[in-house]
Each structure stands twice: as C-alpha cells, then as structure tokens.
Amino acid sequence: MAQAKQIDPLVSKRTIEVDGVGLEIREAGKGRPLVVLSAGEQAQLDPFLNGLGARNRLFMIDLAGAGATAERDLARCVSQGLARLGLDRFSVIGVSRGAPIALALAIAAPQQVDKLILLAPPPWSGRDEDLRAGLPEIEAPTLVLVGTRDRSGAAATARVLKEKISACQLLLIYDTSETIAVDRPTACLSPIDEFLDRGVEFVVCHESQIIQH
C-alpha cells in the first residue's frame, strides 16, 4: 500500500485531565463525531484512520498510557472528557485493546454512544466479569469485526458479544489477522461506513445488480 497521506492539516491535539487521568485527544477529519479508542496501535493505523476521517470527525484517544486503571473508571473519564468537548452523542470504535473500554463506555454512557464498532476484541480476562455482566444492557447497534486469520481469541470474544448484545452484527474480514485494519483497511472501512450510515439495516443490499442498461 502507498504511504498514506497524513491526516494533517486538520489534526489537532489536546490533553484533558479527568479525575487525575490525562487523556490525549487528537482530532481530525470532517463529519459525524466518531471516537476511536485504541491502546498503542495508532501509528500503524494511518491508512485506516485517514479513510475514516474522510466522512467523520475523529476523536482519537490512545489509552496505552492509562496503565491499570479499571475499564469502568477509564470509560467514565472518557465519557466526561468528551462531554467537556461538547460531545453529547457520538459513535465509538474500539480497536483491539481499546474494545473493552468502548464496551464499558457503551454500558456506562448509553445516552452518548450512538453506534459501537469493535475491531479484534481481545480475549476476556478475569477482570472483565463486570463488563460481561453489563453486555445485555448495551442498546447501541454494535458491529464486531474479526479477521479470519486471527489466532488471538477475538472470534470467541465476538461470539459472546453477538449472543449478549441485542443488536450485534459479527463480520469476518477475510485474510486478516488480529491487525485487521492494518491488513485490509479498505475491507474494514466500507462496512464501517455503511454501518455508521444505516446501523443494523446495513445488512440490506442496495448495490445495483444491473449489468447493463
């Protein structure tokens, strides 16, 4: 793939402190507000983020520095931090280790989360019990993307999400590993875009099947 264009000049960066946790928020793109939660992977995600930024106003939060803060607490910080920026309704993408925080956010702040998208959610750990118990409360239409070559256990996590969240779609991205959005950014962008536009109705095909008029 060609070197992706930088998201600049639209990108801006600020740090907000909530309850002693410093959240570094990068903003880029134009359109619907879309919060991207990740944990250390953002540098590799440029082509993907660049694509997302074409139709969305991105608020990218890298939680790698948040350490051992519990997901519930971190989600509350994120919710408050975004509210402080005037965001009262947005969709959320949780990439890999950002996925549990995205889930916690959808549980803790249902009024804020419009749609929820998870990429390669990691295997459940012991400390996720609260999170699992809260899954049936999630009302936001949810899309979970898992790579067909993913050996991290994301598929098993995704099945639990599919079972417990009322409006959840599972989408397998062919020929990708746990770094789905790095392996095939376009294959992720197109269904995400449709899902953000149409929610669960994205299962309906409106692509014309006419070959020639």
């Binding site: 067909t148 599972l170 397998l172 062919y174 294959a187 269904p191």
Partner: protein, 347 residues
C-alpha cells in the same frame, strides 16, 4: 486403502461431435433418461461390490460426463445407497455461491446420515468458460470459497463475510452438518501452492491423473507443510483419482484397452488457443498409453500397494477408457470388487 467408484455418467448413445460445448441438438431426449438411470444402476452395483465410496464430479455442456449438478445426483444417491459414502469430487467453487454449496452439502449430510465427502475444485478450462468466470482469479476464488464454507459449517453464531471475492452480511447455515465438525473436505493438490493451502487449513489433499513420482512429491510436500502447521496427515487425508481397467488376466486387460493413447490436454475438447487463453500457457503434452491401474487382479494389487507406499489412502477409480464398452466396464468393476478389494483392505 479405500476404493471409490467414480460415477462419471457418460452419455449412453453415440454422439457425432467431440467439440466442447457439444450442441444440445445432438442430445436425444430419451437418452437423457437412459444416461441417468444407467449411472444410478452402476452406482448401486458399485456399492454391492463393496466399494467404499461412490463419487460424482461437476462438468458442463458435454456428453463426456453428464453431470452439471453433482448435488442433484448425490441427493438421489443418498436415498439409494445404504452403506457407501457419497463423495462430491467436486463442486466447482468459482461457478457457485459458496454459501449455497455449504447449505446443500449440509442437507446432503443429513439426508445420507453423515456419509458425505467433498472435494472443492476450480474447474477445468471448459468449466471456467461455462458461466464466464475469470480464469486468472479462479484459484483465489476457490481458496476463499473453501475458507468461507468451512466457516459457515463451524461458526456457531450468524456472521457476515467481507472477502475479496465474496461478500455477505448474513450467513447462518441450517441444518448443521451431521458429521462433526463437518464432512471430510479435500482440495486439489495438483500444484505445490494448492498443497500448501491444504496443509495450512488441515484439509485433505486430492490429486488426479498424475504419475506416481509426482504423487510422491506432492504427499511429501503436504507432510512437510502440515508439520510446520503442527499436524500430521495420514493416508486417509490423501485421495487420488485415475483410470482403471481390470480383467481376469493381464493379457485380457491389455486386449480390452487396445493401443489407444490419451492426451490429457485434449480431454477438454476445446480449441487449443482457448485452452491457452484460460490456462495462461500451452499445457505440456501429457499422453498416457493406458489406465493407471491395468491388468489382472494380482498385477493391480501390486500397483495399489505402490500407490499406498506413496501415501495415498483413498483411490477414486474411473472405469472409462476409449474403446472399453459399458459391459467391459461392468466386468472390470466386478473384478475389482471380487478379486482386488478383499486383498487391499489391510493396505
């Protein structure tokens, strides 16, 4: 060693044309009935003789093998065969909707109470022409189709698929296959790349009409690649399809098959320039002067032992050969059933 009877379903009457596609006007409407009923009788005879599997293939637009839909014939077989496994060798994935294939095979597995075996293929050059598929992409399409079908059979929750060649938003196959996790699956092992694919996905390896030395090489590569993936294939994972003619003695078998040479390039009966355009190169001359298995029972048992030595555990036998009549084919099947199969069980 397991033996499969290949129900190739040749058209029963004489046809004046050897072209592909053969003009439909040459197909006698009544001969269509005779062709199907004779093929069914032959399949039942194979089961009676002790063959472990009856296999069907997919070929289009020609009297050579009248089997455009293996699923339909296999469905009939599930209701007639009481013991033999039914092997679909195999559905051509570039020509189909793989989810439909997964659904139909799951139905067949239920209808046969778990006796389905399947080999997924790309199709020969004429098959690729049938529904206007791009030959340059047929391997990738087939490989993605295989992965999709395996997923459709094993994924416990409904899912969508964002592939390179296939895109679905809703997949949820009912019924589930009777066999757990799914029916035995083979893919083509005719090229080194496809051997690696089979090893990577822990599925069976199928070869056809290759010489013994090539089979040995492919199986060796398959084992090496499987070891890298942390598993060890057995002879049950290897399938080989070939021509066979068995008679009471070597002399009688030689008389029956005559002096005919078969150029495997030409079995498709299409213009060589078209073949070249489809395959991307001029296929090598691959002339064979007799069926792979040929002779009286003792000779043939030795030949099968050699095949087993190469790592093949399932052999799919085609009893057709130019000049060999239908009654001679039946006698050949009978020789295999009565004098060969009892001797190769332990191999």
């Amino acid at each position: 060693m397991k033996a499969s009877f290949f129900a190739s379903v040749p058209y029963t009457d004489e046809v004046a044309s050897r072209d592909w596609p053969a003009p439909p006007m040459l197909c006698d409407r009544g001969a269509g009935i005779r062709t199907m009923s004779r093929a069914m009788e032959q399949a039942l005879f194979a089961e009676e003789l002790g063959f472990d599997w009856v296999s069907v293939s997919e070929h289009h637009y020609s009297p050579r093998i009248v089997m455009p839909s293996p699923m339909i014939f296999a469905a009939a077989l599930t209701q007639k065969l009481k013991r033999a496994r039914i092997a679909l060798l195999g559905p051509l994935l570039p020509l189909t909707n793989p989810i439909r294939v997964a659904e139909e095979l799951a139905m067949l597995d239920a209808m046969s109470e778990g006796r389905i075996v399947v080999l997924f293929l790309r199709g020969t050059p004429n098959e690729i022409l049938t529904y206007r598929n791009n030959p340059d992409e047929s391997r990738e399409v087939t490989q993605e189709g295989v992965e999709l079908i395996l997923r459709a059979w094993t994924e416990p929750q409904p899912f969508g698929w964002e592939g390179r060649y296939f895109k679905y938003r809703t997949v949820s196959v009912w019924p589930r296959t009777v066999q757990e996790p799914h029916p035995k699956v083979f893919t083509s092992g005719n090229s080194p790349d496809s051997v690696r694919f089979a090893a990577r996905h822990r599925i069976g390896l199928a070869m056809s009409f290759l010489p013994l030395s090539a089979i040995k090489q492919r199986v060796q590569l398959y084992r090496e690649e499987a070891a890298k993936e942390g598993w060890e294939p057995t002879a049950d994972d290897v399938l080989y399809r070939f021509f066979a003619h068995v008679a009471e003695s070597d002399e009688e078998a030689a008389r029956n098959i005559g002096q005919v040479k078969v150029d495997l390039r030409k079995v498709f009966n299409i213009n060589q320039n078209v073949v070249e355009a489809v395959t991307g190169n001029r296929p090598e001359m691959r002339e064979i002067d007799g069926p792979f298995l040929c002779g009286g029972p003792a000779t043939v048992v030795d030949q099968i032992a050699e095949l087993r030595e190469c790592g093949v555990g399932n052999m799919d036998l085609s009893f057709t050969w130019p000049g060999v009549s239908h009654p001679q084919q039946l006698r050949s099947m009978e020789c295999v059933g009565k004098s060969v199969l009892p001797q190769i069980r332990g191999l």
